[in-house]
Assembly symmetry: C2
C-alpha cells in the first residue's frame, strides 16, 4: 500500500522545482537585456511566495500525463508566475496600493524607483508570452490565448480596475465578481494551462476550469479572513490592512464564520470537479484544501 | 501602364482600414471588461497617430500574399498598435517622461488618473496577445513569439530602461543600440509579423527584418531631427523637448546634416532589402522614404 499523500513534502519538492525553473528562465534574457532590468525582474520574481499557481499548473499536467510533463508545461508554470509577479509589482506602486513591503521585503519601486518598477512589471508580463510561445509544440498559440484572456481586460486587469473604483457596493455579488476577475481568472488559467500544455481533453479542461474558479475564490476569501485573524509576521505584511484601507471583504460582508463556510463549500466543489482526473485523492485535492486551511 | 504609386492615397486607404480594425477590435472586450477600462484603452488607442506599424504589417503581408491578406495579418496589425499605444501610455506617466500632451490631447493619466493609466497600458499589452493568439491558424504561436521578443526585456522595454538610465554616453554606438531596442524592435516586428502572418518564406522574413531595422532607426533619427526643426503644431507636442530634457539625440551627437545623411542611407538599405518582395517600387519603398521625409 502506498504511503499517504503528504502535501508538505509535495509543496517542498514542487516549490523547489519551480524556483529552479524560474531562475533558469531568467537566463534566457541574454546580454541584450539591460542588467538593471534583469535585476529588478529577478528581485520580484525570486522573492519567494507560495508558488501556488505554477504548482497547480504542474499538478494538473501530471494528472493528465500520468508521468513526466512536456516542456510546454514547465514554460506555462513559469509564465503564470511571471504574470502574477508583474501584477504584484504594479499593484504595489504609489499610484495604486502604495505598499512598501511585500513578502517581508521592500517592494520593487522602493528599491528600484517607480519608473523601473513599472518597466520591470511590463517586462515580466511580456516575457511571460515569450516563454509561453517559444517551442515547437503546436499548442503554444492556444496557451498564449488562455493566459492572455485570463490576464487581460476581462480578467485580472479588469478585476484590478474594479478594485480601485470608488463606488464599490458592499455586496457579495460584487465581491465575488471582483475576485473572480482579480484573483480567480489567473488561478484558473494556471489549472487550464496545465491541462492544455499536457494535451488534455475538453472534459479535463472543463474540470480544471471549475476547480480553478472555486479554488480561486476560496483562496481570496481565506486571504480576507487571514487579514483579520493572522499576525503581520505570518503574512509578511501589516495585518488588518484591508479594513484600514476601507476595503470591502468577505468577513465584513458575510461575517467570519459564514465566510469560512463558503470557502469550505468551494473547496468541496473543486475536489468533486477533479474526481475523474485524480481518482485517489492526491495533490489536486490537497491543494484545494490548502487554499483555505493555510496560515498565511 | 499603371498610374504611379501614390503614398498619400495609400496611407489614406490603409490608415482608414486600420482605424476601423482597431475600433472593431475593442468590441471583443465584451461586457466583463469594466467600462471605464475600455474607455481608457479606447481613448489612447483611437487618438490618431500615423499608424505606421500596422500599415507596414499589412503592406508586407500584401507583398507576400499578392492579394487579400489572412485574418491573422489584421490581428497582427492591431496587436502591434496595441503594444505601441501601451508603451506611449506608460512612457507618459509622471514617474517616466511626465508628459501631459500626446498627439495634441491630454495624456491618459491626465484624463483617467495614474492608476487607471497604468492599468490601461497593462490591458493594451495583454490584449495584444489575445488578438494575436485567437484564431485557428497554426501560425499564431509563432506570431506571439515575434511580438513578445520585440516588446520585451531584450527589446522595447529594455530600450526604455536604457533611455531612463542616468549614465547615457553621448556616443553614436550607444544611441543606435538604444533606438534599436526602444523603437526599432517593435517596428521590425511589424514587418516580420506581416510576412509571418501571410505565410512568407525564411528569405522574406529576413528581408522584412533588415528593412524594419533600417527604417526603425531612420524613423528615430528623423524624429530627433524634427524635434529640432519642426513646429510644436506639426508635432502635436512641444518642439525642442529632447534638448530641454538633456536627452542625447542624433543631431546633438552627429550634427544635423550628418544625421539626415545617415537616415537617408538607412532608407536605401531598406529599399534594397525588399527589391525581391516588391520588384516595382510600391508601398514598401515609399514607406521607407516617408519614414525620413515626413514633416511630423
Amino acid at each position: 500500500m502506498d504511503a499517504p499523500f503528504s502535501l508538505e513534502a509535495y509543496l517542498g519538492t514542487q516549490g523547489a522545482r519551480v524556483e529552479a525553473l524560474l531562475r533558469k528562465s531568467l537566463e534566457r534574457l541574454g546580454e541584450t537585456t539591460p542588467p538593471v532590468l534583469r535585476d529588478a525582474m529577478a528581485y520580484s520574481l525570486l522573492a519567494g511566495g507560495k508558488r501556488l499557481r505554477p504548482v497547480l499548473c504542474m499538478a494538473f499536467a501530471e494528472a493528465v500525463a500520468h508521468g513526466p510533463v512536456p516542456p510546454a508545461t514547465l514554460d506555462a508554470a513559469c509564465a503564470v508566475e511571471y504574470v502574477h509577479t508583474y501584477s504584484l509589482v504594479h499593484d504595489d506602486l504609489p499610484a495604486m496600493d502604495d505598499d512598501e513591503v511585500r513578502r517581508g521585503k521592500p517592494t520593487s519601486h522602493v528599491v528600484y524607483g517607480e519608473a523601473l518598477a513599472i518597466l520591470a512589471g511590463d517586462a515580466l508580463l511580456t516575457e511571460a508570452f515569450t516563454l509561453l510561445s517559444t517551442g515547437p509544440d503546436p499548442v503554444r498559440g492556444a496557451l498564449c490565448q488562455l493566459l492572455a484572456c485570463a490576464a487581460g481586460a476581462a480578467g485580472m486587469v479588469g478585476g484590478q480596475v474594479l478594485d480601485i473604483a470608488g463606488d464599490r457596493p458592499a455586496q457579495e455579488a460584487y465581491l465575488s465578481r471582483l475576485h473572480a476577475l482579480k484573483t480567480g481568472a489567473l488561478l484558473r488559467a494556471a489549472c487550464t494551462l496545465g491541462v492544455a500544455s499536457a494535451g488534455g481533453t475538453a472534459a479535463q479542461l472543463r474540470a480544471a476550469s471549475t476547480y480553478g474558479e472555486a479554488v480561486g475564490l476560496a483562496f481570496q476569501i481565506a486571504d480576507d479572513v487571514l487579514d483579520v485573524t493572522a499576525s503581520a509576521e505570518a503574512l509578511g505584511k501589516p495585518a488588518g490592512a484591508d479594513a484600514e484601507a476601507g476595503r470591502h471583504t468577505y468577513p465584513a460582508v458575510l461575517g467570519l464564520q459564514a465566510s469560512l463556510q463558503k470557502a469550505r463549500a468551494l473547496v468541496q466543489t473543486a475536489v468533486q470537479a477533479v474526481q475523474e482526473l485524480e481518482p485517489v485523492p492526491g495533490p489536486l485535492a490537497a491543494l484545494a484544501h490548502y487554499s483555505v486551511e493555510r496560515q498565511a
